[in-house]
C-alpha cells in the first residue's frame, strides 16, 4: 500500500485490477478540506485518459516500475524517442503520456524514462533545464523600478519563456520544468 503523495509521472496504479499510468499530476493543499493529488491517468489496457483526484489519505496499490536515464533524440507526430547513451537502446513514448512537457525537450536532454513490463510508458524531465536565449529584445531603461521585471524570450529549442530584463541574447538561463518560470542565469 502506498500514499498518493508518492505519485510521480509514470507511476502505475492498480485500481480494482485495472492498471493506470500517471501522465501528469498536481498536489493541492487547500486551506479547506483535505489535501489531494489531481491527476491525468491513462489506462494501460485501452489507452483511455481520464482525470482523477486522489485524496492524500487514500491507500493505493502501485505496480513495480523501473527508471532509466536516457537522452531525448527526436519527436514525430505521435511518439518521442529516447536513447540509452551506453547501450544505444532506443525506446518510444506516446505523446499523450508526455503532454505539455514535450515543449521542454531538446536534443540530447537527459530525462528519466519510466519502464513498466519492458515498455517505456512515461518520462520525467529534470526539475531545472538549461537553455540558451536565442532571441529577446534589449532592456528598456527605467523599467526596473517596480513591477514589469520580465520580458519575452525564445530559447534555442523555440520555447517561449519570460526572463528578467537584464537577460541578453546568447545568455544561458535555467528554467523550471514544473512551472516554466525563469529560475536563474547561469555561467556560459
Amino acid at each position: 500500500m502506498a500514499s498518493p503523495n508518492d505519485i510521480r509521472k509514470g507511476t502505475v496504479i492498480n485500481l480494482d485490477g485495472e492498471l493506470w499510468a500517471v501522465a501528469s499530476f498536481q498536489r493541492v493543499s487547500p486551506g479547506k478540506g483535505s489535501s489531494f493529488v489531481r491527476t491525468r491517468i491513462k489506462s494501460l489496457s485501452n489507452g483511455k485518459v481520464v482525470e482523477h483526484n486522489f485524496k492524500s489519505a487514500e491507500n493505493l496499490t502501485y505496480e513495480d516500475v523501473g527508471y532509466k536515464k536516457m537522452q531525448f533524440i527526436f519527436a514525430d507526430d505521435n511518439t518521442l524517442t529516447f536513447m540509452d547513451g551506453n547501450t544505444f537502446e532506443q525506446v518510444m513514448i506516446g505523446r499523450d503520456m508526455v503532454g505539455d512537457d514535450t515543449k521542454y525537450l531538446k536534443e540530447g536532454l537527459e530525462c528519466t524514462v519510466v519502464m513498466h513490463d519492458d515498455k517505456a510508458i512515461a518520462m520525467e524531465l529534470p526539475l531545472k533545464i538549461q537553455y540558451t536565449v536565442k532571441q529577446t529584445d534589449p532592456a528598456v531603461a527605467g523599467n526596473t523600478a517596480s513591477g514589469n521585471v520580465l520580458k519575452d524570450a525564445l530559447t534555442d529549442n523555440d520555447l517561449n519563456i519570460r526572463v528578467p530584463i537584464f537577460i541578453k541574447e546568447g545568455d544561458e538561463v535555467m528554467i523550471s520544468s514544473e512551472t516554466g518560470d525563469y529560475v536563474e542565469r547561469v555561467a556560459k
Binding site: 487547500p30 483535505s34 520580465l150 537584464f166 514544473e178 512551472t179 518560470d181 529560475v183 536563474e184
Partner: protein
C-alpha cells in the same frame, strides 16, 4: 549563489513589497509588533507539521518547543493585552513535502488584527492592500461558499445528512473551486460551512461562518476571520486538535494557556487575517515558482 543581477532584482522586489506593506498599515494606525519565533506551542492544526526545536539553557535546563507555524497565538495574546490594531511581518516555518516549486519550509507571513471590526472591514483592507502592491480595482466579487455549494448540489451544507457532511469540503474543492478560479481573476470566498470555520464567528442565521479566503490568479493568498473570542470554545477546539494529532502519530505540543486566559478580554467582533507574502511577491513578479523570487532559492537550500 545567483548572479548579481538576479540578486539585486529579487532583493528590490521584496524591498518594494515590504515597504508597501509597512506604509499601508502605518498610515492606517496599525502598530507593527514583533512576535517570538521559538515557542512552546508552535501550532495545533492537525494538517500542519511544525519544526521542533530543543532549547538548552546554559544551566542545563531543557525546553521542548518549536518554530511558529503562524504568529496567530502571539498576536491574539496582544489583543487580549489591550492592543487594538496590530500587524506583523514574520518568518514562519512548516515542514513541507518538498523544497521548491510552490513549497518552502520557511516563508513570510503577514498577519493583522483589529478589534471592533468584522471580516467585511478586513476584506476591504485586504483588497486595498493587494491593489496597492499589484495594482487593480477594488470591490472584488464576494462569492458565498454555502450559496455556491447549494447552487451546484441542491442542498445547503447546514442541511447535509451526516453522510453528506463528510463530503462537503471535497465536493466543493473538486467541483466548484476550479470553476470559480477560471471565472474570476480576483475574488473572496466567504460564508463558509460552520464545520470548516471552527474559529470563526457564526453568521446570525447560524448556518455559515465569517471566514474568508482571497484568491488572485488562482492562488489562495490569505485566510481571514471574524475571530471566535470564546475561550471555552477555543479550549475545546484545541483539545480536539490535540487528539487528532495524537491519533495521527504527530507530536502534540501543549495548549497555550496564556492565549486562552487572554482571549476573554478580546472584544467581539474582532478580525484577523493571515496573508502569504511569498505568494504576493510571486504575483508581483509574474511567476508561479517560489524559487524564482528568492535570493536563496528554497530548492537549493538542502
Amino acid at each position: 549563489m545567483l548572479f548579481k543581477e538576479d540578486l539585486v532584482l529579487r532583493a528590490q522586489l521584496w524591498n518594494d513589497v515590504q515597504t508597501s506593506i509597512h506604509s499601508f498599515f502605518t498610515s492606517r494606525g496599525y502598530l507593527n509588533v514583533q512576535t517570538p519565533l521559538i515557542v512552546r506551542s508552535p501550532g495545533m492544526e492537525p494538517n500542519l507539521d511544525p519544526v521542533p526545536v530543543d532549547v538548552r539553557l546554559l544551566d542545563g535546563v531543557k525546553h521542548r518547543g518549536g518554530l511558529i507555524t503562524s504568529p496567530e497565538y502571539s498576536m491574539k495574546k496582544l489583543l487580549g493585552g489591550g492592543l487594538e490594531k496590530i500587524y506583523t511581518l514574520t518568518p514562519v516555518f512548516r515542514n513541507v513535502e518538498k523544497m521548491g516549486e510552490r513549497w518552502s519550509v520557511e516563508f513570510t507571513m503577514l498577519e493583522w488584527y483589529q478589534q471592533g471590526k468584522d471580516y467585511e472591514a478586513c476584506m476591504v483592507e485586504t483588497e486595498e492592500l493587494v491593489n496597492s502592491i499589484l495594482g487593480g480595482t477594488s470591490s472584488w466579487p464576494r462569492i458565498s461558499y454555502v450559496k455556491e455549494f447549494e447552487k451546484h448540489f441542491g442542498y445547503h451544507p447546514a442541511d447535509a445528512t451526516p453522510e453528506q457532511a463528510t463530503k462537503v469540503a471535497d465536493l466543493f474543492q473538486f467541483e466548484v473551486m476550479p470553476k470559480l478560479e477560471a471565472e474570476y481573476d480576483r475574488f473572496f470566498l466567504i460564508e463558509y460551512p460552520v464545520a470548516e470555520a471552527a474559529l470563526a464567528q457564526k453568521n446570525p442565521d447560524g448556518r455559515s461562518a465569517q471566514r474568508f479566503e482571497a484568491y488572485v490568479n488562482g492562488l489562495e493568498i490569505c485566510n481571514g476571520f471574524t475571530e471566535l473570542v470564546d475561550p471555552v470554545e477555543q479550549r475545546a477546539r484545541f483539545e480536539a486538535e490535540a487528539e487528532e494529532r495524537r491519533q495521527a502519530g504527530k507530536e502534540v505540543f501543549p495548549i497555550d494557556e496564556e492565549l486562552l486566559s487572554g482571549l476573554a478580554s478580546v472584544r467581539s467582533p474582532s478580525f484577523g487575517n493571515a496573508l502569504g507574502v511569498d505568494r504576493l511577491v510571486m504575483l508581483k513578479a509574474g511567476v508561479k515558482n517560489i524559487d524564482a523570487i528568492h535570493i536563496f532559492p528554497p530548492s537549493s537550500r538542502f
